[in-house]
Amino acid sequence: MSAEKKPKKSSSRLKMQLVDFWNEFKQIKFGIIGIIFLVIAILVTIFESFLIPFPEASTRWRDITYWEDNPRNAPPAWINWFSKKDYTPTTYIDDINFEENIMSPTMTLMTSVIEYDYRYDVPPIDLIYRGRYKGSFTLNIVLERPDGNVLNLVNKNFSSPSWKDFRVAIGTEAKNPVQSFAKKYQNSSVQSVKVNNVLFAQANETILSNPQPLKGTYKFKVNIIKTSADTIIEEPKLVLSGAVSGILGTDNAKRDIWSGLIAGTKWALFIGLLTSAISVTVGVIYGVVSAYYGGIVDSVMQRIWEIFANIPLLPVLIVLAAIFKPSIWSLIIMMCLFFWVGPVKTVRSMALQIKEETYVEAAKALGASHARIIFKHMVPILIPYSFASMALNVPSAILYEASVSLLGLGDATIVTWGQILHDAMNGGAVTNGLWWWVVPPGIAIALIGMTFAFIGFAMDTILNPKLRTR
């Protein structure tokens, strides 16, 4: 008799079930696709800081100063592969080495040469030199162009007793020298000169009217004269605010959309998983309790269920989000308040069946408490179903968060995909053709929804038809 064989001590039933489950799951192709996407989403969350160029995107999404060096409404950098003209991408040059020259006890001359290889057709939007300092110094930037022309771009004094940021936008600071440089070649009545267009253009008579790109190595000579002994300068860098920027471009507030998208992944997972975990747990327990007690308790609980099931969620969410300060937590709580109805009916019908099992009767005969019967004998049998139900609930939680955010009622301290879409709508992204602002978050929402829907369907196919009681 096989049952007489000594069972291995280590073989647990749970493990066996999991192996069984996995073997069946492997058969379902879309389930595997779902798992792959889920793993990707989790990896993205884990390695977020390695994936995004702006590590504080999540916390400083609405901080204008954090994004100020980026171009506005710039398309993604990879459109260069498809367009005839090459656009300058946003470039950060921050490995700047200074050569120190002590001139007197109080004065020190620091010089550095930043070489920039320009090989594009469309010049950057702006050039920014920035850093942090304490004390006082004079900043002088001289540009040596590939054709040998030398321009003195910036002369500026800074002084502050405490730590402060300095930021020089060459596009505005160097208007005069650049204008006079251009006028040498083309006498034009044009008053406003686009600094960067001139800087990166060939020195000929169309420098203003039709600038031709001058490709080659540009040398920015930065001279800093510290005028007091205790002056310290940190994190100097030159930013070329490009005509194209990053992996997914920027929005109208100069924010890097790729960073927002990646930083939003964890919030999508968090909102989706937490909401569905809480609401399914509540729903399953509600259903079991309702079925277990039966009679009048069941009737009352089912009527309450019907009320909640028939309240349209979105209008309520909008009103509540408008009344209370919208935060991620209040949003999750409100969604849980309405999402728990999902599994109740199915769970109740399953529990009605389990309730009649002899082992439940046996537990009653032993004098087991109601809580013990519910949580030790009934709920564990519903766990497989609960997991499938949770997976199926995740997309709707994400979608509802996105909907509420799209309406401008999201949590203002984080960045979610719905909020990016909301900003895009407000910024007229669609009418202005800023597709990189609209399409990626839309796809991301669809993908994460698909991921969990696939996993949920796959689990459902395996677990739902049979009440795996033995």
């Binding site: 002899t358 009767e361 030790k376 564990p380 009681t469």
Partner: protein
Amino acid sequence: MNDEIILSVKNLKKWFPLRRSIAEVFKGKRKWVKAVDGISFDIKKGEIFALIGESGCGKTTTGRLIMKLEELTAGQIIFKGVDISSLSSAKDIKKYKEDVQMVFQDPYASMNPRFRVRDVLYEPLIIHEKTKNHAEMEQLAVKALEEVKLTPPDEFLDRFPHMLSGGQRQRVATARTLVLSPDLIIADEPVSMIDLSTRAEILHMMKEVQERLNLTYLYITHDLSTARYFCDRIAVMYLGRIVELGTSDEIIENPLHPYTKALIAAVPEPIAGKENIIKDIPIKGEIPSASNIPQGCRFHTRCLYAKPICYESDNDPELEENSNDGHYVACYLHKEIN
């Protein structure tokens, strides 16, 4: 065996209400399924008492009423001098459920498939807060498994029910009742779903345990042959009432009620040369519905001996002692028939 009465059932009734139409609700009519309709018996300490009857006769309901799995409609169940239907505090009910245990019919369903044998045996200890110490629990569980001859116990402790045979499961179910050292065990058809070859073994084990631990059994069955082997006294039930009660030998050798006679005649005899003979069973028709019980003696519709007194009287015949030998029968005509 002594004469101390451990459980006394007096005029026990369980009527289940039937769903009514609206017209009936307005007329105030109530319809009932009279599953148990006024039964009385005493069980002495240390005996094995059998309730026998065909399916639907109310024997399982009686067991469930005694186990407090159902609320009784009328009557009394007195256990060790206390009317258990009047127990109201949860503590008293719990104490009662410690003293009275039940073995269920289906050994495949009576254990949670997710529980190991260990968990099954620990459950009563946890519920009744006997001990929190795992070593002690294991000791008690091992002892119970030894009682039911599942040896070596260590091999069985970590198995799941689905890894056991039907006989082994019923042994575990019996062990579960034993860990709390109860006084009365209600065995609801414990061997009816077990292979014939293992039945005798299980019954033998149960009897041994009963003798060794001086337990009392209420054995609920439809199977006369096991009842005779196993029980001291037998009560025969028909449609919610006891029709005959006596020692098992008396009932089998000298049945007085026509229904008992029919039951005994219906037992197949596996004797060579006789297997093809269909016996003339002294009964007619089908069992009536418990919601529509015939007037008078409720057996008259199927009785071959029925006379006007049987269906003209307003009540069922009472159980009366035949000749001062502890053999009771409920039949108007039993003196004439026998």
